[in-house]
Amino acid sequence: MNVTDATVREPAMGPADPSLLLKWYADLLLIRRTEEKLITLFADGEVPGFIHLGIGQEAVSVGVMNALTPSDTIASTHRGHGHALAKGMSLKAFFAELMGKEDGLCRGRGGSMHVADMSIGMLGANGIVGAGISIALGSALAHKSLERKAIAVTFFGDGALAEGVLHECLNMAALMKLPLLFVCESNGWSEFSQTAKQIAFSLGKLADAHAIPYARVDGNDVVEVSVSAAECVASIRAGSGPCILECATDRVRGHFEGDSQKYRSAEKLSLLPVSDPIRVALAHLTNAGIPDAKIKRIAEVTEAKIEEAIAFARNAALPEFTSAFEDVYTAQGS
């Protein structure tokens, strides 16, 4: 099933709304705890291959997705678990995919780097840095061409600032006034190197050069991200063309799981919890007067949900080679 036009609902808004704060906290915690479980599952060999964790970056996924509707599309990155789950991917099918099972969303063909769910407009994580940007550009073109109300969002890291295709897409999106939101997750790292040593420009100036509206926010604060994302999305939906949202955040784990991060200062790493998006969200909950019991309850529900999903994935069947081989091309007449 390809992405088609679906009913467009009004996005939720209002950062002070306690029920929204609770929902965001639950979403953040689900992504965080899922990835923390993955650390163990990966170490134990239950999740094979390469995984890239977004621990520390969850507020970007949750904040941006709050502004989106189910018919909006997103193209993600190799660090895409948070995007997938925040967009609404089934947790059971997510774990099953990462364990290489038939019940995985991609029937065990893609794994962590390719989680996708077309039914919710999640056009795929991507193993190639920057590749999702042009896919989102095309998705935005389709939305505009077919006169849908939907918009497309591309997530990319600051490492992708060095990819030429970003410049091509910024130019084309601006020229064609496409409904496209560029979300840069600036965690300061380009794989194993500091982005500051790789990039001679700023994204803000690049945005200026293309006359694309640009905002930079604290990407660890889900409220700040969601307010800015909602503004960007409203402008894009109004037909004003693309926007760029740069979210300053932190990559807590290495480039990939198992990366010892010897290239990073231990002292700076130890300071990261101060800006942790879960702590920031908890502070918002406390300020809003949400009782502790409610917060605890969210944690319990989250744990149960994850355990159930992992159990499902463990019991799921392994994929058959023949059915994979038959899917190299689309079955004709279907």
Binding site: V3, G138, L141
Partner: protein, 324 residues
């Protein structure tokens, strides 16, 4: 029946597809206002509007990636890359994204895009505007590759390519654009993966595609005067190629020559020869011979390019070798 040149036949296929399917869009450099660098998309923007016939900046990687994303989200993009040599710039979108999306995402989506691009030499266009790179794409699971030889096959195969749910590389030989051949007044789609026997013969099978079908027919006609009857197969589709038609021909003639303009080493001919040597071994009365370009870049000087491109004489000599 009407005589239509190859470029106009492609234009008609695009025009008919745009008219019959609102999901079809054309996208590429200079295809709208300028009508394409070889004039293939001329007048289509005037007819279907700038929202469906879209000029882009010189950004091949973004165009190709956009075609992938658009194809995943309800459109059927047909995008043009001005010269096949420039497909080096679209490789990620085509090889890593388009070719794999259906498989990699567990069959959740298809990528119904067509990449149209001209290949081939003969114009002194030099090393970066003359290459035949179809074997690269044929090597990638998930892609289909088509090389039509005349107006009839260009129209019919392009209509099928646009309707196909998977990514298709549609390769047009530059030398064919101005060549006229017959097209039905009500042309129809031709199936992908099906070759055509364009000349019957009992002594040797010549497998060719694209512009080289005409060279194969010319060689066969000349050989006929010497009492040698060559069968000529127009492959039409390189991936998936029509193994059964080729094998059936070999079973009749017991000799085979494969000719293409692309570099001979690791090429389409190598694949066909290897398969026939395997499944057709008992049919063979002579070694299978390939005729392709030497292992060197295409050169600019007409003197060098002429020597580089496989000639009718080289093909005839290869045919005679199989009959020694």
């Amino acid at each position: 029946m009407a005589l239509l040149n190859f470029g106009r036949a492609i234009n008609k296929a695009l025009s008919d597809a745009l008219e019959q399917d609102p999901a079809v869009i054309l996208i590429g450099e200079d295809i709208a206002d300028a009508g394409g660098s070889f004039g293939v998309t001329r007048s289509l923007k005037e007819r279907f509007g700038a929202r469906r016939v879209i000029d882009t900046p010189i950004s091949e990687a973004a165009i190709a990636g956009a075609a992938v994303g658009a194809a995943m989200c309800g459109l059927k993009p047909v995008f043009e890359i001005m010269f096949m040599d420039f497909t080096t710039l679209v490789m990620d979108a085509i090889v890593n994204q388009a070719a794999k999306a259906h498989f990699m995402f567990g069959g959740q989506c298809s990528v119904p895009l067509v990449l149209r691009t001209p290949h081939g030499g003969g114009m002194s266009a030099g090393p970066q505007h003359s290459q035949c790179l179809e074997a690269w794409f044929a090597h990638v699971p998930g892609l289909k590759v088509i090389v039509p030889s005349d107006s009839h096959s260009a129209y019919g195969l392009l209509r099928s390519a646009i309707d196909d749910p998977d990514p298709v590389i549609f390769v047009e030989h530059k030398a064919l654009y101005s060549q006229k051949s017959e097209v039905s007044d009500t042309p129809e789609a031709l199936p992908l993966g099906k070759a055509a026997i364009v000349r019957s013969g009992s002594d040797v099978s010549i497998v060719a595609y694209g512009a080289y079908v005409h060279i194969a027919v010319a060689a066969a006609n000349a050989l006929s005067a010497r009492g040698i009857q060559a069968e000529v197969i127009d492959l039409r589709t390189i991936q998936p190629w029509d193994e059964s038609t080729v094998l059936a021909s070999l079973s009749r003639t017991h000799r085979m020559v494969i000719v293409h303009e692309a570099v001979e080493a690791f090429g389409v001919g190598a694949e066909i020869a290897a398969r026939m040597a395997d499944i057709g071994f008992d049919e063979l009365d002579a070694p299978i011979v390939r005729v392709g370009a030497p292992f060197m870049p295409v050169a600019f000087s007409p003197a060098l390019e002429k020597a580089y491109r496989p000639s009718e004489d080289r093909l005839s000599a290869a045919v005679l070798r199989t009959l020694e």
